[in-house]
Amino acid sequence: MDPFLTSRIVSDILTGLTNGVIYGLLALSLVLVWRSTRILNFAQGAMPMLATYVGMVVFAHQLSYWTLVIVSIVAGFAIGGVTERVLVRHLYGKPEINPIVVMVGFLIVLEGVAAAIWSTTPRGTPSPFSPIDWQLNGRPIALSAFSVYEIVTALVVMIGVAALFRFTKLGLQLRASALAPEVSRLLGVRVSRMLTFGWILSTGVGTICTVLVASNFFTGLTPQVMDGIFAFGFIAAAVGGLDSPVGAIVSGVAIGIILQFVGDYVNSNAIMITALIILIISLMVRPNGLFTKSTARRV
């Protein structure tokens, strides 16, 4: 049998792909918020984290894994909608540092509250899929049932979001209110409702990402589990361009694979440093991201 599939390079690519779709999902949720409300949501990891803890509370009553997933996503929708209505609504039209500061405050409040209620010890969520790598001729391929589940879920979410934007009336309204709020309002689009829906959608995507992270046998759920993933997700979104969903996903996967190679061939400390260098270089070369067309900034 060809040992190609079990070689070091292919393993790194497969592991990187599994990590990359997670970064891509978080980057996608950042892009969704950015496109609808022009806010970089620093609590984009913390809000889904709270939603997943809510799902965990239900899961503690011996229900199935899929109950956990559904409850978490519903909780994520609710948290996203309430946050937009209660907190974010007051920030439109303010100087651009105001929303940043408020969302950073929201991030540490959420992490603090979650740690106060559920403590900082990791909570495992046994998923129905085995995290043990498959074997080929006695050697492991860097793929397991769980990582296939991760990749497939991420793909389904990405395709679902794309389909929503492209083929539904709701998606058209979302795009219209992001591009030209005044015109859309005149044409009968309920822009304010669309903004709320943008946050609901994005927190939902973020929650799916967090549930996948939490179901991973090796990480589990902690209040700060999303901090690192937020950093990688932001880097992916910034490299791809905060306006470009496709860019977010592609650069998420690319960064996942590159960092896996760095981690394997250099060491684990180099991962975060490389990510930072990628971010700095890409921002210097294309400040608006690799996947966005350059546009003049409105004055």
Partner: protein, 400 residues
């Protein structure tokens, strides 16, 4: 008008002299202490006299700022003599923190950029201080502090280069990534930085001779007596604040404010945006490094885990709560930081929260985060802004 000014000045100096005479006669055990107190009082009186001189603020603003700095420094240094060791320690920690806050306040308030990485820049300064003090034990501490500042400015330059083309959210995210990466960077150079364990200052770090002679302390070791630390930190803080007050009012400061308010207009009058942005970023990281270096001095050691993302966020909270872009706001933030731990533990003790429990551990984060949101939504200019608004309202009422 002249008369009221003169009268106020006379009353102030009389009170000060009376207090000084009383304290001197009550507390001095040696002639040297008496002389020291006498010098301090004289400096305070001269400073206040200069400060209250007619029209000085309008004609010689730099001199007025210098006089104010001297008076505040003088009174604070005087006070450290009477404070307990723990108060002096808190004072030193808070004073060093206020330097960091001032740096971020300048970056955000004057140039409109935002940084979530100033905790990591503090760490850069703290580690450089620790490394240099370990390798070159004979360097005077003020030189070591300057080296730490230079190191911080250099790292600020490296990270600030992309900042030249970035707008708010991107820069915030990039500095956040730096704060997250800081641990990894420290661990990569573990032979220098000591990785997680950090560094211990060699006990040979001593104050300059003239200083130890002047204080006639029992020990010449800098790290043993917290009064030394508080005094040195306060002195450095004073210099840093004086410099920043002038920078705020200078051409550079005005340039920054124009960029913050309207960058297109700034470019049209010939200001180089990239240059101004990099300078602001470098100043802010140099100030953060100075604060971190002072922390190393005060704690006698560096522990890299202190300089986490959480610290960066605390710094941002303190700047916002104190008042973005104000000098007094940075001082208020420093005081809040120095006493927040005490206040929060007092709060937990009086509300019956288990002090070892999860809630008590998370309380600082929840409180700072909550204050951050509330301040930004209801009083975006912080405590100083709210006070100023009250003050101008009162003045408007009395005038009309």
């Amino acid at each position: 008008m002249n008369w009221t000014r003169l009268k106020r000045r006379e009353v102030l100096s009389t009170i000060l002299i009376a207090v000084a005479v009383a304290i001197t006669s009550l507390t001095t055990s040696s002639v040297r202490d008496g002389v020291a107190i006498g010098v301090m009082v004289a400096v305070a009186i001269i400073g206040i006299a200069t400060l209250t001189a007619n029209g000085l603020r309008a004609t010689h603003p730099v001199l007025a700022r210098a006089a104010l700095t001297v008076v505040v420094l003088d009174v604070s240094l005087f006070a450290t003599y009477f404070f307990s060791a723990i108060t002096n320690f808190n004072l030193a920690i808070g004073a060093a923190m206020s330097i960091v806050l001032l740096g971020l306040s300048f970056l955000t308030g004057a140039s409109g950029q935002i940084s979530l990485g100033n905790g990591a820049f503090m760490g850069v300064g703290a580690l450089i201080m620790g490394m240099w003090a370990n390798h070159h034990t004979s360097t005077p501490i003020f030189i070591t502090l300057l080296i730490a500042v230079a190191g911080g400015a250099f790292v600020g330059l490296l990270l600030g280069l992309p900042a030249t083309r970035l707008r708010g959210p991107y820069l915030a995210g990039m500095t956040l990534a730096f704060a997250v990466a800081f641990t990894a960077i420290v661990n990569s150079f573990s032979s220098w930085t000591g990785a997680d364990a950090g560094l211990q200052l060699p006990t040979a770090v001593t104050p300059p001779h003239w200083l130890s002679d002047f204080f006639s302390s029992q020990t010449t070791l800098l790290t043993v007596n917290s009064m030394w630390l508080a005094d040195i930190t306060i002195l450095v803080t004073g210099v840093a604040f004086f410099f920043m007050a002038n920078l705020f009012a200078s051409r550079t400061g005005r340039t920054m404010r124009l960029i913050r308010d309207n960058d297109v207009a700034a470019e049209l009058v010939g200001i180089s945006l990239p240059r101004a942005r990099v300078i602001a970023f470098m100043v802010s990281s140099a100030y953060a490094a100075l604060g971190g270096a002072l922390w190393t001095l005060i704690n006698n050691s560096v522990s890299p885990s202190t300089y986490s993302l959480a610290l960066s966020i605390t710094i941002l909270s303190l700047v916002v709560i104190g008042g973005i872009g104000t000098i007094s706001g940075a001082l208020i933030g420093g005081v809040i930081y120095a006493y927040s731990t005490n206040v929060i533990s007092w709060f937990t003790a009086h509300t019956g929260i288990n002090p070892q429990g999860n809630l008590a551990n998370q309380l600082p984060g929840i409180i700072f985060g909550g204050l951050l949101i509330v301040t930004m939504l209801f009083a975006p200019m912080g405590i100083v802004g709210a006070l100023r608004r009250l003050w101008s309202k009162r003045r408007a009422r009395t005038a009309g």
